[in-house]
Assembly symmetry: C2
Homo-oligomer: 581 residues x 2
């Protein structure tokens, strides 16, 4: 019975549907792992198709192709155990499973089917998969190892306990694709530590990294030992690779000496028995290089969010085949933050800023944008919109008759700007990044086909108050005013009518954001929020604005989820809805 187990963590960034590229990357990491003498190399959930293919899974051939690639991969795996995620197909029933394959000596040695399928928040796994019905433990040189997939480890008194107690697993491997939101890291490590310390097993949690449409997978894979101590933590938001020696002897010793362990084990043993898979014995190498696993220092709260936005932007742009992006620079803080993120994600040479002043625009809006562009060292173009607005007003004069000026004219300006950005996008193949934040997206303080026009909404899930924090963070990190001070200090304004500020139409942002967080992210109702001490009329108005603007959000571009509940498939509200919240 081996005293230690050397395991490699391959925290890869794959692309949905890119079987060829994903398998090339898997092979690369397998070879890297072999060079370190690792006995096992672990990949994220659904490695081969990448997470999450959504309705591509309903195309039979997609699933068959993924199986072909798995077979091709298996044939190439020798002298190491590689564990990869894939979609399994039961030919008899036609059922598909979210699965993991243990590849060993040129073959698929065993397959595990995920038992707990998440079907909440952004997840729809029950739409696609049939749950597995049996936990699995495999034997590697006499050590028992439990194999888990993502949600399996989140459910208490479930798969993990069964593997450790009934199946005697000393190590639990979790293949994951766990999307990022603020403070998710802490929650995940706690889950890992809770399962590890209760089962007195080492938990190896391997998470996907990369952006897929609006979801960010932050990597940050980790290992927790049998006492619940974090012994390895991979980088956040980038590909990473770590090799760890797991001290199995220590696990055994600890279990022997721990009286309550035997009590807990007994309580579980009778419930169910996991499948036990034996692998052909594996020859351990001598004179291995040292294991490299360390605990990387986690990013600060703001840096974590910033890196999520950078990765999300980079992966959406690159994985969709774009080279450059174009951003309308209004002189406001939202477009400034968006531009700064884009430069970090794509390089300054791939970001073009467009200034589109009107007669209403303040002098500051142009100068501040030029300062920003100069700080970021990006190209700009200036295209004034007044003439276009005049023409529209002339064309519409007969129809509008003597109706008073209202938000129609404001929206027209925003839409002219949207048209110009889209024309540049069409002509030069640049992707338009929109700049709306979560506060305005919530209450509909934005123009459909105007400032909402574009391919990707970088800060769609970022409250306005957090926009300020992030800008200050960027400046303090850079130790200079990348975002010009004037942009941060001036009162926010859409500049769509003279002397307008956001606070003419909206409550102050700190109050607005606090109410919105309760209403949008925590699903509280007006009455509940008022009961918490927020002003009645403001709460009612804000809730109503959120509800009646669902139609706008339905036509918004996708954006990066950084909160517990983002707009999009995370929050599926009917448009037709007469409920009085």
């Amino acid at each position: 019975m081996a005293e230690t187990l050397r395991i490699a963590l391959a925290q890869t960034n794959t692309t949905v549907g890119d079987f060829k590229g994903n398998c090339r990357k898997i092979i690369e990491y397998i070879n890297k792992a072999k060079n370190t003498g690792a006995e096992i190399v672990l990949f994220p959930e659904l490695t081969i198709p990448s997470y999450f293919p959504e309705d591509l899974l309903l195309k039979k051939r997609f699933v068959q192709d993924n199986l072909k690639y798995l077979d091709g991969l298996a044939a190439k795996v020798r002298d190491i155990i590689a564990i990869v995620g894939f979609v399994d197909l039961d030919e008899k029933t036609g059922n598909t499973h979210n699965a993991a394959a243990i590849l060993n000596q040129g073959k698929i040695a065993a397959v595990y089917h995920k038992i707990c399928l998440p079907n909440y928040s952004v997840f729809d796994e029950k739409r696609y998969f049939v749950p597995g019905d049996r936990p699995m433990v495999f034997d590697c040189n006499g050590s028992k190892i439990g194999l888990n997939i993502c949600e399996d480890i989140w459910v208490p008194d479930g798969v993990t306990e069964c593997q450790a107690f009934a199946g005697d697993a000393e190590v639990i491997l979790s293949l994951s694709a766990s999307p990022y939101h603020k403070e998710k890291r802490k929650i995940r490590v706690e889950i890992g530590a809770t399962r590890a310390s209760f089962t007195r097993a080492i938990v190896v949690y391997l998470n996907l990294v990369g952006g897929q449409d609006g979801l960010i997978f932050d990597g940050n894979s980790f290992i927790v030992d049998h006492r619940g101590e974090l012994i390895c933590e991979c980088a956040q938001f980038i590909e990473d690779f770590a090799v760890a020696d797991l001290d199995l002897a220590a696990v055994r010793q600890f279990r022997k000496e721990d009286a309550t362990y035997h009590y807990d084990k007994k309580a579980y043993k009778s419930l169910y028995q996991p499948e036990l898979v034996s692998l052909s014995p594996h020859v351990r190498k001598k004179n291995l290089p040292d294991a490299t696993a360390t605990c990387k220092v986690p990013l600060s709260h703001l840096e974590e969010i910033y890196q999520a936005l950078v990765l999300g932007t980079r992966d959406y742009v690159r994985k969709n085949g774009f080279a450059k992006v174009v951003i309308g620079l209004s002189g406001g803080i939202d477009s400034a933050l968006t531009a700064a993120i884009a430069v970090e994600a794509l390089g300054r040479e791939n970001v073009i800023g467009i200034l589109m002043p009107s007669d209403i625009s303040s002098e500051g809006s142009v100068n501040d944008s030029l300062d920003l562009a100069s700080n970021l060292n990006i190209e700009t173009k200036t295209i004034p919109i007044s003439q276009a607005l005049d023409i529209y007003l002339t064309l519409l004069k007969g129809t509008f008759e003597d109706r008073p000026v209202d938000s129609t004219e404001e929206n027209l300006q925003a839409r002219i700007r949207g048209n110009i950005l889209m024309a540049l996008s069409n002509k030069f193949g640049w992707l338009v990044l929109t700049t709306g934040n979560k506060s305005e997206t919530s209450v509909g303080y934005c123009t459909l086909y105007g400032d909402m026009a574009g391919g990707f909404a970088v800060i769609k899930d970022v409250w306005k108050t957090l926009v300020y924090e992030l800008c200050n963070h960027i400046n303090s990190f850079a130790q200079r005013d990348v975002i010009p001070r004037a942009i941060i200090t001036k009162p926010p304004s859409a500049e769509l009518r003279p002397d307008q500020t956001d606070q003419d139409s909206l409550p102050p942002y700190d109050l607005l954001d606090a109410i919105l967080e309760q209403f949008v992210e925590k699903d509280k109702t007006v009455k509940e929020i008022i009961a918490e001490g927020y002003p009645r009329e403001v709460v009612k108005r804000v809730a109503r604005l959120v509800d009646i603007n669902e139609y706008k959000r339905r036509q918004a571009p996708p954006g990066i989820k950084i909160s517990r509940k983002a707009f999009g498939k995370d929050r599926r509200m009917p448009i037709t809805n007469q409920y009085q919240t």
Copy 2:
């Protein structure tokens, strides 16, 4: 033991979240049913909140409010059994159930929890509900009646058989909210007849009617007797009410004489035992008026689709609080069909047509639109767009430099038109109806923020070939050319560059639609479609166009589902997707 059972079918059109209005309507129909002497009145699935509240269900108070309304309703029900759908809450676990309540003598006499929860196609019921674990049969004057909810009756060897065989149910009541698609009627009646003839029970299928965002519930409730014969069929696409006398004596006699019935019953009896609920005996009235149930003649194939589009448009517009709609009339067949549907749905006085000719527009496009408007007797306004286009081209000249003219300039024209329609919408509170069909939505032959700009996409799920059929149908039904002949006969064109026709960019529509049907609705891959004999290069190009235009569809307005698979939550494709179909 009663020989007959008088049942009332209340095929209601309710609105999501409108608890007050929905309950008012329920009371109205209960009273109507009592006047006919019915012993039972049946309502659709989730009657109180209406189907489907989506993430409103995650708001605790929404569920609590629905329970309050149920209690209020129950207190008012006397001298009849009313069966209504609602959301049940288990206070201990916090679990919610898709439920039906049997209301009797001022009380909730019993509650059933739906067992089969659909989580495919447009359905996400497992996101919200925990399945029930016990079929239910209740006793009404000595007759055994099984209560089912929607999906329960679709699953073979399931709830229905258990109720009839193990629970001796003579009647199966199914509360449904089954969305419409082409030819769904036949499928539903067949399911009803199959269950009825196998269990030798009378099946009463009560379906919701009305539009909810993109989904149409077509009503068309029906009764199938124990031999599988259709004995009642309600109207399609409108509220309806029917009263039927169910011949229980005939069911009993039939079962007695049918040897295989006893064999089938025995086979099921041992499996599970449904819950049996006894209701307080109900005094039957004398001298009742005759039952009114008849089999209404089903609509023809084209009339059915047309009525689905009419109902979908009317309910989206009205339930969202709009009075009038505005439509850009291009002189083409798509806007003509959309306008005709809107007039049927809302009345001619609530439809405004806008002509927005450019220098490229043919004379026909204006004249044909005016003819159409005159046939439909709707108001029009003409706003030419050439000056606006000129300004944009001037503004962009410096940036475009000497780049050749391409689709950018075409998109600009479409976006100017979009802006004008939206300006009218903003100024007058009219809802913009978009006019894109499914063929162009599939391949992205449409302009984001241009012709795609608007609140509701009436014919989004209608193939171009079907657009023609529907226009001919409208004309032949009206026995005059409501849609001018010229619009039907001219070659389709976007008229965004001189002498353009759709067939410059796309394969002929009959070929295109046939390929798209395989690829989009049947989830076949390129190889499979080619294997069926379609031209290789065309199939490859069409599939590629569908895949790369997912980003456009993500920002499209909702529209009416009439096919087995519509765009939207029925087809959840990733944008970031490198799969080579």
